[in-house]
């Protein structure tokens, strides 16, 4: 099972002011972390994050920053 060690900080930062509501992050995120609410992306499912960084590289508005979670926390893969 991929497990999840609770991340103490919010490691994905979404800047609502910069977000243009383009939906790129929603399309690229295989884990359904984002939702579009009132034409802005919101993080609704952070615990599902696979730490792939895709959302950051496709957000042309620079509204998303993904940091790797604190040492020893976040996703733990079991089978590849």
């Amino acid at each position: 099972m991929s497990r999840w060690n609770k991340v103490p900080e919010s490691f994905i930062i979404l800047d609502q002011d910069k977000c243009t509501g383009c939906g790129n992050c929603i399309i690229i995120c295989g884990a359904n972390v984002f939702e579009l609410k009132d034409k802005k992306a919101v993080i609704s499912n952070l615990n599902e994050c696979l730490e792939c960084g895709n959302c950051e590289v496709v957000c042309q508005a620079d509204a998303i920053q993904v940091h790797i979670p604190k040492a020893g926390t976040g996703i733990i893969y079991e089978c590849g």
């Binding site: 496709v58 940091h67 893969y77 590849g80």
Partner: protein
């Protein structure tokens, strides 16, 4: 103290680099954010070292040494190694063929392993070779003097110096980002790889539900609206089956049009196939709650360039994904530069054009021609990752034919039998399934030319394929069209 090399990330690429550099006698420090190497490592469906890395015997030896120490499935564990399912527009399997049977080709040297176990043992080998490892240590920044990277800063505030830093920190590369090398990617031409894993209660139970194949490819027509798609399913020790859906053949713009992400566009279609349902219905949580999910960018996050003075980026972090490949290449490439202490931007630039090149040399003793392999500078050819094919087609408005040709050039020349291997780049990452489907499709292309691109002709092509089924099955290997 100043290390010769700091490697950020004990994934398959970082640990491979660490192993080869430590063996050369350099002072190597690996910094890993996870509690154990492998915790954060996803991906990899099949390991076929001798095939994929045929031009790098030392890497093959290292991979096999590791594989032998961990649980793995061998093609011999099941009757046939690979099966191909051709799926029509109505999402039905219309034809099944097996391309490789164990014992007939090098494919018997392919293994199904879990990347986590592989990485754990690989890192142990690096440590045995002399590398120092610190786990639960996250790197948060690079040490920079002007335009030169001089080491890293950890979460705990430690500043650690090195002559060279290797960023092998995976798809969220702090090193690439802090060095200012990360760029944005145009969503219309990028591809990514999403996968799910399901769990049977045991290996035995898994074998019961899978008909004589350890690796299955579904395509090429699975994915609407473009008739390209290659989902793969692979078996792993511990009763695990992994399902992978590279968005390789369909540019994301079609997902945007479908207003959905790959889980819905690809994987859900796959789960509707009767053949797949039959297999997976006994897995826990099927079809809604997979045992595990994983995702990565292909071919890795876009970088300005994967090097600068004092720094090399490799693996997923460095825009080229794939197991061990660029880690080994980076180690080989920097070894003479570390020895001569020339780690300037210009010196490291060769990293992007250096390719493993195979030449045939006459061995005077045995009077036989022997292949020699070396890492050398070649004129940069148009290296196009197969997975970017679809986006490429769309962006440059090229034909399927051209795309197949590009994929062929991008792939390992040996497998693809390219007419002029010296001209081809060498690419570590190749998904055998997508490649074989491409090969088969290009075979069909040769025979049928443009009609393949006409969807109404599809039934006729299937007829041709069915006519050839017998010879596929008799020969057990697929005739190489190139």
């Amino acid at each position: 103290m100043i290390y010769d090399v700091i490697i950020v990330g004990a994934g398959s690429n970082g640990s491979t680099a660490a192993y080869f550099l430590a063996k050369e006698g350099f002072k190597v420090l690996i910094l890993e954010a996870g509690n154990t190497p492998g915790d954060k490592c996803h991906g990899a469906t099949e390991y076929a070292p001798g095939i994929i890395f045929h031009s790098r015997p030392e890497l093959v030896a290292l991979q096999l040494k590791v594989i032998k120490q961990i649980p793995h499935l061998h093609p011999g564990d099941l009757g046939k190694a690979h099966y191909y399912y051709y799926v029509n527009r109505d999402n039905e399997v219309v034809f099944k063929s097996c391309s490789v049977a164990p014992g007939t080709t090098g494919a018997e040297e392919s293994y199904g392993v879990n990347n986590q176990e592989f990485v754990r043992v690989l890192t142990e080998e690096a440590v045995k070779a002399g590398a120092e490892l610190r786990t639960t240590t996250k790197v948060t920044d690079v040490l920079r003097e002007g335009d030169v990277i001089k080491g890293v800063i950890t979460e705990g505030g430690d500043k650690i110096q090195s002559r060279l830093t290797i960023g092998a920190d995976g798809r969220i590369s702090t090193v690439a980002k802090k060095a200012g090398l990360l760029k944005k990617w145009d969503i219309n031409v990028c591809c990514y790889h999403y996968g799910e894993a399901w769990k049977f209660r045991s290996d035995e139970e898994m074998f019961e539900y899978v008909e004589h194949a350890r690796h299955m490819f579904f395509g090429p027509t699975l994915t609407p609206p473009k008739p390209w798609g290659a989902c793969t399913m692979g078996l792993r020790p511990g009763g695990i089956v992994t399902v992978n859906a590279p968005t390789s053949w369909t540019p994301l713009s079609s997902m945007i049009a479908a207003k959905n992400n790959s889980r819905h566009v690809y994987i859900q279609n796959l789960y509707k196939l009767m053949e797949v349902k039959r297999m997976l219905r006994v897995c826990e949580g099927f079809p809604h709650k997979p045992y595990q999910r994983q995702s990565t960018f292909l071919p890795g996050p876009p970088l300005e360039k994967p090097y600068m003075a004092g720094l090399i980026i490799c693996g997923d972090a460095g825009a080229v994904g794939g197991i061990c490949s660029t880690g080994e290449k980076a180690a080989r490439f920097v070894t003479p530069l570390l020895q001569s202490d020339n780690l300037s931007d210009e010196a490291l630039a060769g990293y992007t054009t250096a390719r493993y090149r195979t030449d045939i040399a006459r061995d005077e003793k045995s009077k036989k021609n022997k292949p020699t392999h070396e890492l050398s500078e070649v004129s940069p050819t148009r290296i196009v990752h197969w997975s970017t094919g679809a986006g490429y087609m769309e962006k440059y408005d090229c034909s399927i034919d051209e795309m197949v040709e590009n994929m062929r050039l991008a792939a390992v020349p040996h497998i693809m039998g390219a007419p002029n291997p010296q001209k081809c780049g060498e690419f570590g990452y190749i998904d055998m399934g997508a490649w074989l489907i491409a090969v088969k499709m290009s075979h069909l292309l040769k025979l049928y030319g443009p009609i393949l691109q006409d969807p109404t002709m599809f039934p006729q092509i299937m007829k041709w394929v069915q006519k050839n089924e017998q010879s596929f099955n008799e020969k057990k290997i697929f005739d190489h069209p190139f």
